[in-house]
């Protein structure tokens, strides 16, 4: 699967409280959550994000609360993929479970700039910066996680096991 998008860039330790503040967590409707995605970090985010946005961030993206509302709000806002130097582990699991593409590459996270155009081949984890011509190789997913991704999220896999 090929993803193309324009980059919005954030720094280190973007926590799930700023991705989606707790005051909105009485809702679990992705579209409602998307309206407030990142608003405490960047009030203009909801206006800037499009169906062709790729987020790039530094270390420990998604740290803090386990709220799955965080990747849900990012996905529903239109973001096609998140590239980070590293992810907090609960966010990492949540993103895979709900089908938000994430890629870990320290080099890509450092070198890609706000506004760059990037192209990602999900199967291979190759990230190409179309603006500069650079390419980066993201960490490969272990086979078990690839299976979750291929099934379109964890619950489809659970459904299969329950009915067999």
């Amino acid at each position: 699967m090929l993803i193309r998008g324009k980059v919005i860039k954030f720094g280190d330790n973007v926590d799930t409280d700023v991705i989606i503040p707790a005051r909105y967590l009485t809702s679990s409707d992705p579209m409602e959550l998307a309206r407030h995605c990142m608003e405490d970090l960047d009030p203009t985010f909801a206006k800037r994000v499009t169906k062709e946005t790729v987020l790039v961030a530094g270390r420990n993206f998604g740290c803090g609360s386990s709220r799955e509302h965080a990747p849900l709000s990012i996905k529903a806002s239109g973001v096609q993929a998140v590239i980070a130097e590293s992810f907090a582990r609960i966010f990492y699991r949540n993103a895979i479970n709900i089908g938000l593409p994430i890629l870990e590459s320290a080099e890509a996270a450092r070198r890609i700039k706000e506004g760059d155009e990037v192209e990602i081949t999900l199967e291979t984890g190759i990230i190409r910066n179309c603006t500069t011509g650079e390419t980066f190789q993201a960490q490969a997913f272990p086979p078990f996680l690839q299976e979750i991704i291929a099934q379109g999220g964890l619950m489809n896999l659970v459904k299969k096991r329950v009915s067999s």
Binding site: R59, N60, C63, S66, H69, R89, N94, N97, I98
Partner: protein
Amino acid sequence: MDVKMTITEKIIAAHAEKERVVPGELVRVKVDLALANDITAPLSIKELEKHGIDQIADPGKVVLVADHNTPCKDIPSAQNVKLMRDFARKYGIPHFFEGGNVGIEHVLLPELGLVLPGDLVVGADSHTCTYGALGAFSTGMGSTDIAAAWALGETWLKVPESLRFVFEGEPQPFVTGKDFILFTIGQIGVDGARYCAMEFTGSAISRLSMDERFTMANMAIEAGAKNGIMEADEKTLHYVRSTGARREPKLYRSDADAWYRNTFTIDVSKIEPQVALPHLPENTRSVQSLPRIEIQQAVIGSCTNGRIEDLRMAASILRGRKVHPGVRLLIFPGSPRVLLEAEKEGLLRVFLEAGAVLAPPSCGPCLGGHLGVLAEGERCISTTNRNFVGRMGHVKSEVYLANPYIAASSAVLGYIAGPDKL
């Protein structure tokens, strides 16, 4: 082959029904308990419904705690709790807590004897790592992972590498388990233990009360850890017996020559009472080193510091004193049992006479939900666990993390300082 393992590896191996596991290995494990709260459970329930899954492997291993936006702050919160209540009824889930039975989940579950040493617990709440204080493996996940665990009775894990933290020495006055963990996070950073097990050991840990151990394990996630853990000892077993637990604890110990990615030795006699400045728990300073930082609110409670010993610490400072007129002091006992014990010991009277607001057991303002959120420009000293941007309210408010002594003395003084300044 003689295989050396850490306590974390042993518990995971036992639940994977394997002789041994090694860090980095992906395993399927049976879970002893899978919990969710009124923010995360609704998503889990909706995921099951959306996929037409109506199998719960063992309703006795599901725990639902309505503690975050309760007593329900608005109609959507009430709808969420209703969803949990209906789900509990439909599947015959015995461990659903609300109303007068509810406490903050990570205070409540251990004291009800629902988590025991040697257990493997997962929860749709990042502070699920609290139960490591009992010598259990416990870790936070998202709502979908917990829905899967409810349906299948198992989950998948990557076996974490272990980091060992050896705490030695005698702490100074007003230095608590909270200061040990804040100091540690200050040293290694908010991703210093990312994906790892933090194993706390040493003579200073043995001397800690169970309540202080819970505080330490609770904040392992604040260093990015998968779990925090301590070996069970006599204090643990005494605690577990006092809960009337119906299952037998299983005791695991790390092998003497087990592999650790790193070992840190910390002399606690050198630690002064800590304060984590906005907006990361790693921004720790000694309280002595701070300039005069005026506060408008102080919060004592939460899954980190809402236990009876925390209230005793606060009361020891507040007895015979008054909260500063410019400060709102909010006290959240962590559970009905804590509240009752505080009543018995006369602590509630101390709080009320000092001019504190006594709140029900709830997560309340910790995550900016309700019962004490902050306005623009306000500062709060808090015994909670996170001081992220906007965590307790307005995006331009500030949270300073500290132990209950410091929170109480700051509430009296009107600025952040220790009891020595009273």
